[in-house]
């Protein structure tokens, strides 16, 4: 018994001193999506480690296989940064009181999300149909925008909440002549060529509204923010045709995404990647972003995503020019170009 206690004591002591010597560790959570596969590559190719070393920290890149769970874990405090869309960034961490900064705008969906219809040719054919989708997700937002642009409302359709893991198989095996789903890539790619199938609306009709981000806690240290941004834009150079690492990078990402190189390249075509930091900065500063966030927050509030809050102004969204949409005293989502600008000016060193 005595020996065990002494052993434990020594172990704890060793462990404690071991921890003290370590550099501070920060954690980034990501989930599978075309625009986020670069994080896996950044980790595997040692780019993350390189940038983390540069700023004297440790960065763990963790794959959380369930998208919503990754955001929930980030919001609950398990991670310091996480990949998510602009809508989920607003409704989960920001409404949940976690002050979050949009560190990197990676891309926007430019056809990665779509409404897939059997035996139909236009959005107006959706009337009266039963539509399977992940409710309250960007798919739902896409559908709401499509209906709105075609003078329909959600009351004209029936929504069935369907898990994204099964939605593709369910559509392909559905015998109903009016089967309809709203989904995103890579599922979209798998179902769009099925017989009698048409994509009647996709996110290229609302460009720049479904934005994929890397979000970081606003109070995270500068070193972490700089290291992530630096690593990301280094990967972006690898992803451009002509770079010596291009094929290697694309092959790796296609593999982690669970598809072939051709499939991954096809997905990249419908993903408007901001390969250059300067492009992302421009997008971030545009007036269009404010308009988009206004649509998004109205949609979110109308669908009860603001929980108990009495108006959509409950949470403030800050833009690079300092203007705030919503409550100035409760700013929880910040579009910040500081670090992307540094990357554009090569000042991250």
């Amino acid at each position: 018994m005595k020996r065990i206690i002494i052993g434990l004591f020594v172990f704890t002591l060793l462990f404690a001193t071991g921890c003290q010597q370590d550099k501070p560790t920060f954690k980034l959570a990501w989930s599978h999506y075309t625009g986020w596969e670069p994080w896996a590559y950044a980790e595997d190719a040692g780019i993350i480690a390189k940038w983390a070393d540069k700023f004297g920290i440790n960065i763990e890149v963790v794959l959380v296989n369930d998208y919503i769970e990754s955001i929930n874990l980030y919001t609950a405090g398990e991670f310091d940064a996480c990949t998510m869309t602009n809508m989920d960034g607003l409704t989960i961490p920001a409404v949940g009181g976690v002050d979050s900064t949009v560190l990197i705008i990676g891309d926007f969906s430019n056809g990665n999300d779509g409404i897939v219809v059997k035996n139909g040719g236009s959005v107006s054919d959706l009337k009266g149909r039963e539509i399977k989708l992940v409710q309250l997700s960007v798919s739902h937002y896409l559908l709401a925008r499509a209906l709105e642009m075609n003078a329909l409302t959600e009351k004209d359709v029936t929504l069935v909440n369907t898990s994204d893991a099964d939605i593709g198989t369910l559509y392909l095996s559905d015998t109903s002549p009016t089967a309809t789903i709203v989904t995103w890539n890579p599922i979209l790619m798998q179902v769009r060529d099925a017989p009698d199938t048409t994509v009647v609306f996709d996110s290229s009709s609302i460009p720049g509204e479904i934005i994929d981000l890397a979000v970081v806690k606003t109070d995270a240290p500068e070193s972490f923010k700089k290291a992530l941004t630096g690593a990301w834009y280094e990967v972006m150079t690898h992803m451009q045709d002509g770079h010596p690492k291009y094929n290697e990078a694309i092959e790796f990402m296609a593999k982690t995404a669970g598809g072939t190189v051709d499939e991954f390249k096809a997905q990249l075509k419908t993903t408007a990647m901001f390969y250059e930091a300067a492009e992302a900065v421009d997008f971030n500063k545009s007036a269009k972003l404010k308009e988009t966030m206004e649509y998004v927050r109205t949609f979110s509030f109308d669908h009860g995503l603001y929980a108990e809050a009495e108006s959509k102004d409950y949470v403030g969204i800050e833009f690079p020019d300092g203007s705030v949409l919503g409550n100035q005293d409760n700013v929880k989502l910040r579009f910040d170009v500081t670090y992307m600008q540094m990357a554009a000016d090569s000042k991250l060193e």
Binding site: I92, V95, G96, G97, Q135, L136, S137, A165, A307
Partner: protein, 312 residues
């Protein structure tokens, strides 16, 4: 003189006996009280513990109270750091959510969301479990009674019982659709093999002599299962249903999470999209409460209808 003397002695003896008896009684009372005070029968510790009624009640409530205290302190701690924290909401937030979901008609449909969800889920789990109880009973009886049928299907049922139903979920949904049928079938496939095996084992335990005796007394091939075996299996069947209900809830929630328009599992997975724990926690408590009440009523059903069984 002599007689007076003997009489006096006699009276004294009598008096002495009475006093002795009185003292003995007092001593016994003191001893008894002492024993009670010392409490030779332990109240809580050890194998001989016999907690009294009041202690029983306190002991039963204690873990719940502890759980609530732990929750409140953890929630209080998180809310102090971030008043908008969604992970462990305050009681008042949960009350508000319950008020909105259970007692306020929905704007879109005009019905009460929680009631709708509960009815939808209960009908699914009810139909599913009744279906597997009936099937399990019929197949289990047949396997237990008829050797031929046993050879035909026992191995198969044992085999089926091992398949994890959630792993073949896509096949189920494709074969039976994502509507009500698909969900009921998942509950059915998940629970009927266990009920079947339970019924079969109960039948197997019925002494061979009982069957021989009834055959001697002139029972027919059909009277044996109906009059002798069936009544003995019935209470065991209800017990088996009780145990299967836990699994049935898991399958219900899983099927509602995958494709659904209403139901308790649907709501939980829908609001999970924005981490609305203020809705999820009351829903979970509600599910637990329903499950507990159903279990309790089945226990009382067995106690009332099959007194011979529960006495064992």
């Amino acid at each position: 003189m002599r007689t007076i003397l003997t009489e006096t002695v006699h009276t004294f003896r009598k008096l002495f006996a009475i006093i002795c008896g009185f003292l003995k009684k007092i001593w016994r009372i003191i001893k008894h009280t002492l024993r009670r005070l010392k409490s030779r029968v332990p109240r809580f510790w050890g194998i001989h513990a016999r907690p009294g009624f009041r202690l029983n009640l306190i002991l039963a409530i204690l873990p719940f109270a502890l759980l609530i205290i732990v929750y409140l302190s953890a929630s209080g701690y998180r809310l102090a750091q971030n008043p908008d924290d969604k992970l462990l909401p305050s009681i008042s937030k949960m009350v508000n959510a319950v008020n909105k979901y259970a007692f306020t008609p929905d704007d879109k449909t005009g019905t009460y969301i929680m009631l709708d969800d509960t009815l939808a889920s209960l009908s699914r789990i009810g139909i599913g479990i009744i279906l597997s109880a009936v099937t399990g009973l019929v197949i289990g009886l047949n396997i237990g009674i008829y050797r031929g049928f046993r050879s035909l299907s026992l191995t198969f049922v044992n085999f089926i019982a091992i398949i994890p139903p959630l792993a073949i979920l896509p096949i189920l949904f494709i074969s039976f659709g994502t509507g009500e049928l698909g969900k009921i079938m998942l509950i059915f496939i998940g629970t009927f093999p266990m009920i079947t095996r339970d019924v079969y084992l109960t039948v197997k335990k019925i002494p061979e002599e009982m069957i021989t005796k009834s055959l001697t007394l002139g029972a027919s091939q059909l009277e044996i299962p109906w009059r002798i075996i069936f009544p003995q299996v019935l209470p065991k069947l209800i017990d088996s249903i009780r145990l299967s209900l836990g699994a049935a809830w898991v399958y219900l929630i899983a099927s509602e999470a995958i494709a659904s328009q209403n139901g308790l599992g649907y709501r939980i997975f829908l609001v999970r999209r924005y981490l609305a724990m203020d809705v999820i926690i009351p829903y979970v408590v509600w599910i637990t409460l329903i499950g507990f009440l159903v279990d309790l009523s089945l226990i009382y059903l067995v106690r009332g209808a099959f007194r011979w069984y529960s006495r064992e």
